[in-house]
Amino acid sequence: MDFQLLMTLHVAVGAVQKVGAVPHGTRVTAPIRDGRFEGPRLRGQVLPGGGDWTLLRGDGVLELDLRVTLETDDGALIHMTSFGLRHGLPDVIAALARGEHVDPDTYYFRTTPRFETGHPKYAFLNRLVAVASGDRRPEGPIYTVYEIL
C-alpha cells in the first residue's frame, strides 16, 4: 500500500497519572499539555486538555489511546483519536522508562489516527485512514502521520 506524508505531530505530556493495576493491565494516563503539527496541507497547535490513555498489557505490549484537539493556524478545530501499540526488547523498553532518548527504529511504535472536523477546508481528513510511526522522546512523543492512499 502507498502512503503520503500528512503531518509531523509533536505533543508535550504533563505529569503522568499512574492509575496502576486494573483488570486488563497497568494503566497510566498522560495529560497532553500542548504541541505542534505541521504538514503540506495543515499546520497549527495542539490544544491543552487532551490525553494519552495507556494500558500495559500482560503480554508486555503497551496500548495507547491518544485523544487531542488540533487547532489549525487558520482557526479550524480537528478532533483526533489514535489507537496505537508500542513494544520492544526489555532493555530498550527499560531505557524508554528511564526517560532516555532511544532510536525509534529499535522498537515498534505504530498508531492509526482518525480525524473529525466540521471545517470544509479540512473535510478531507474525515475521509481518510491514516497510520503513524512514533518516536517516544522524554518530553513527549513525535508522530509522523501518513495518509493511506
Binding site: 502512503f3 489507537f83 496505537g84 501499540l85 513494544h87 505504530r110 485512514v129 497510520v131 501518513y146
Partner: protein, 92 residues
C-alpha cells in the same frame, strides 16, 4: 512508512440490515455469514458474526499466532457482489 502483506480476507455477507437514521448518520450493518483468509503466515475460515473494519486488529490466545496481538494492520477493501475482499497488510 512501509507495510507488507498479511493476508487476503474474503467475506460473505447476508442481506444488509438497514438500521436507518441513527444519531451519527444512516447506519447499515452487514451480517457476516462466513468467509476465508489466506496469507503466508496464517490461513483459515471466518466464523459467522461480526462486521466491517478498515483498520483490523487481532486478539488470539494461540502462541503460534501471538504475533498478531503485537501488530497494527491496514486493509484496503474491494466490494464485490458476494461480499467484500480485504487485502490486509501488516504495518512495519
Amino acid at each position: 512508512m512501509r507495510s507488507r502483506p498479511l493476508m487476503t480476507l474474503r467475506l460473505s455477507t447476508a442481506p444488509v440490515q438497514d438500521i436507518g437514521a441513527a444519531p451519527r448518520g444512516t447506519r447499515v450493518t452487514f451480517p457476516i455469514t462466513g468467509g476465508s483468509f489466506e496469507g503466508e503466515r496464517l490461513r483459515g475460515k471466518v466464523l459467522p458474526g461480526g462486521y466491517f473494519r478498515t483498520v483490523p486488529r487481532f486478539e488470539t490466545a494461540e502462541p503460534k499466532y501471538a504475533f498478531l496481538n503485537r501488530l497494527l494492520a491496514i486493509g484496503a477493501a474491494e466490494i464485490r457482489a458476494d461480499g467484500p475482499v480485504h487485502v490486509i497488510e501488516e504495518l512495519l
